[in-house]
């Protein structure tokens, strides 16, 4: 059962960790070596899974659009439908869910193992700040790489839609591309990328918080990792609703 007191305590602790992490993000020394290492880990190694997710989503979108309402001739709007849906909504959300599951769980498993084997305490005992050394590079890398992956994923998804449009639906490539470019606005892209920034923060902070607070050996690390995947997914989906409203209001 949901314990409101525990929820308030967790929220407060996450807020404190957020404050310390963002202060660490802008305070010298910048551990750029650690940041780039994490960017490689979080971004480059997630490229495959993000690409596959969005390519096939683009292809499915194209098919569904054409087959759902054939009598209305919607296949001639496939480019617009695929691009708008992907860039505004499905690109950031699906990339965050898939990549977030991977990297958030990885963060919790890594930090949780360090916690239960006293490596975090060892860092503290050597006068090093675990937030600065471990959380800040992960947060920085996620804030940079998730929006980047989202943009790449959007592009690949639109290409997936193009493939289906040309090969299966007899829509010319030029027509599809023209439809995409005329329908997509800067607000669409800004909305999608803006969401990705928020999702990146949720994934990194939940992943690190659960890792740093893991206890009870391997079993505890396993539980913390599962919690991260579930909590990050819920936060992404719930916040997506409010962010969508917010971005429409701002636009």
């Amino acid at each position: 059962m949901l314990d409101p007191l525990a929820l308030a305590r967790h929220t407060g602790s996450i807020a404190i960790l957020t404050g310390r992490a963002f202060v660490g993000l802008v305070r010298r020394p910048f551990e750029l070596g650690l940041w780039t290492e994490q960017m490689e880990q979080i971004g480059v190694r997630s490229l495959g899974v993000a690409g596959i997710t969005t390519i096939f989503t683009g292809m499915v979108l194209a098919l569904q659009t054409a087959f759902s309402l054939p009598s209305l001739g919607v296949k001639y709007y496939i480019g617009a439908v695929v691009a708008k849906s992907l860039v505004r909504e499905l690109g950031p959300v699906l990339t965050a869910l898939i990549v977030g599951g991977r990297i958030g769980a990885g963060m919790t498993a890594e930090l949780g193992t360090m916690k239960v084997t006293e490596q975090i305490d060892a860092l503290r005992s050597m006068a090093s700040d675990p937030v600065k050394k471990l959380v800040v590079p992960k947060l920085a890398a996620t804030l940079v790489m998730l929006p980047a992956l989202t943009v790449i994923g959007d592009f690949l998804g639109v290409l997936g839609g193009l493939f289906i449009a040309v090969v299966q639906l007899d829509v010319s490539a030029g027509f599809y591309i023209n439809d995409v470019t005329t329908s997509l606005t800067l607000q669409d892209v800004a909305s999608g990328v803006g969401k990705a920034f928020f999702f990146a923060y949720f994934i990194a902070i939940i992943g690190c918080y659960n890792g740093l607070n893991a206890s009870g050996g391997a079993d505890g690390v396993g539980r913390a990792t599962t919690d991260t995947v579930v909590e990050a997914a819920i936060l992404i989906l719930v916040s997506d609703f409010f962010l969508t409203k917010l971005f429409y209001l701002v636009a």
Binding site: T113, E118, Q119, D121, A122, R124, S125, M126, A127, S128
Partner: protein, 272 residues
């Protein structure tokens, strides 16, 4: 006296090696109380640790020895009481204000707590990279020196996963000495090790003590180790010291619980 390179510039580091540091007491612990829920682990504990001595803290598993040790470098703050280190109450300091003190107070963890993602060299070099201006050549020389001190020269490239339990603890000891600390805290240094390796660890602790002149606190339930390394011995039981004194006094102690612990006798509630 020539101070080691790593300490020379920082007044906080030199505080207990400076000529005017004449106070024979390094730690003054007063009224320490620590509870987890209803369980009072440390109960109004007060004692001193003398400069340059090795204090062995004995106690049964779960008696609060490790909790006590973690108060001595501020890893945990007590519910009540003061932990005065060289005139400063560590219990009153924030995490960041504790950093200068933690550079002087090294800690050896029960499982070694080596960083899995780094090889032996990087593990030992880590504190030097963090807190000194030493260049790579100087760091390499220091890493080799520290590994030599624990009789593990030449294993720089090994990963922690490739080391035995005893080797991990020796590498962890080398890492804890990397910043030339003035105080070393040992948390159950022989737990899980065979008697021969335990004897090796005991000899190393003693040699660190005599060669570097550090103040050490060793918490353990290993009586053989405590006899080997401890100048004085304390016995923690139900949150308080049932005994604190030298070994001659310990042998003559008439405290039933302590004498029973030394003799390896079960207490009534264990036997029941």
């Amino acid at each position: 006296m020539t101070l080691p390179e790593t300490r020379r510039e920082d007044p906080a580091w030199t505080a207990d090696t400076r000529p005017e540091a004449t106070d024979p007491v390094l730690y003054r612990i007063r009224g320490l109380v620590m509870s987890y829920g209803e369980h009072r682990v440390l109960d109004d504990l007060s004692f001193d640790i003398r400069r340059g001595e090795c204090l062995a803290v004995l106690g049964r598993s779960g008696s609060g020895k490790s909790v006590l040790l973690r108060q001595l470098n501020g890893l945990e703050a007590p519910d009540e009481g003061t932990v005065e280190f060289d005139g400063t109450d560590l219990a009153a300091l924030s995490e960041y204000d504790l950093f200068p003190f933690r550079r002087r107070i090294a800690m050896l963890f029960q499982g070694g707590a080596l960083f899995d993602s780094m090889d032996v060299y990087e593990n030992i070099a880590f504190p030097m990279r963090e807190h000194t201006d030493l260049d790579d050549v100087e760091i390499a020389a220091k890493v080799a020196e520290k590994l030599g001190m624990v009789h593990l020269a030449g294993i720089e490239a090994k990963m922690p996963a490739d080391l035995s339990g005893g080797m991990k603890k020796r590498v962890a000891l080398a890492r804890s000495l990397a910043l030339d600390p003035t105080t070393v805290l040992f948390d159950e240094p022989t737990t899980g090790l065979d008697p021969v390796t335990s004897a090796t660890i005991g000899r190393l602790i003693r040699s660190v003590q005599t060669r570097l002149g550090v103040t050490s606190v060793v918490v353990t339930h290993d009586i053989v180790l405590a006899r080997r390394v401890g100048d004085r011995v304390a016995f923690l039981h139900e949150g308080r010291f049932r005994f604190l004194g030298d070994w001659a006094e310990a042998e003559a102690s008439e405290d039933e619980v302590f004498a029973g612990f030394l003799a390896g006798r079960e207490e009534e509630d264990d036997a029941a």
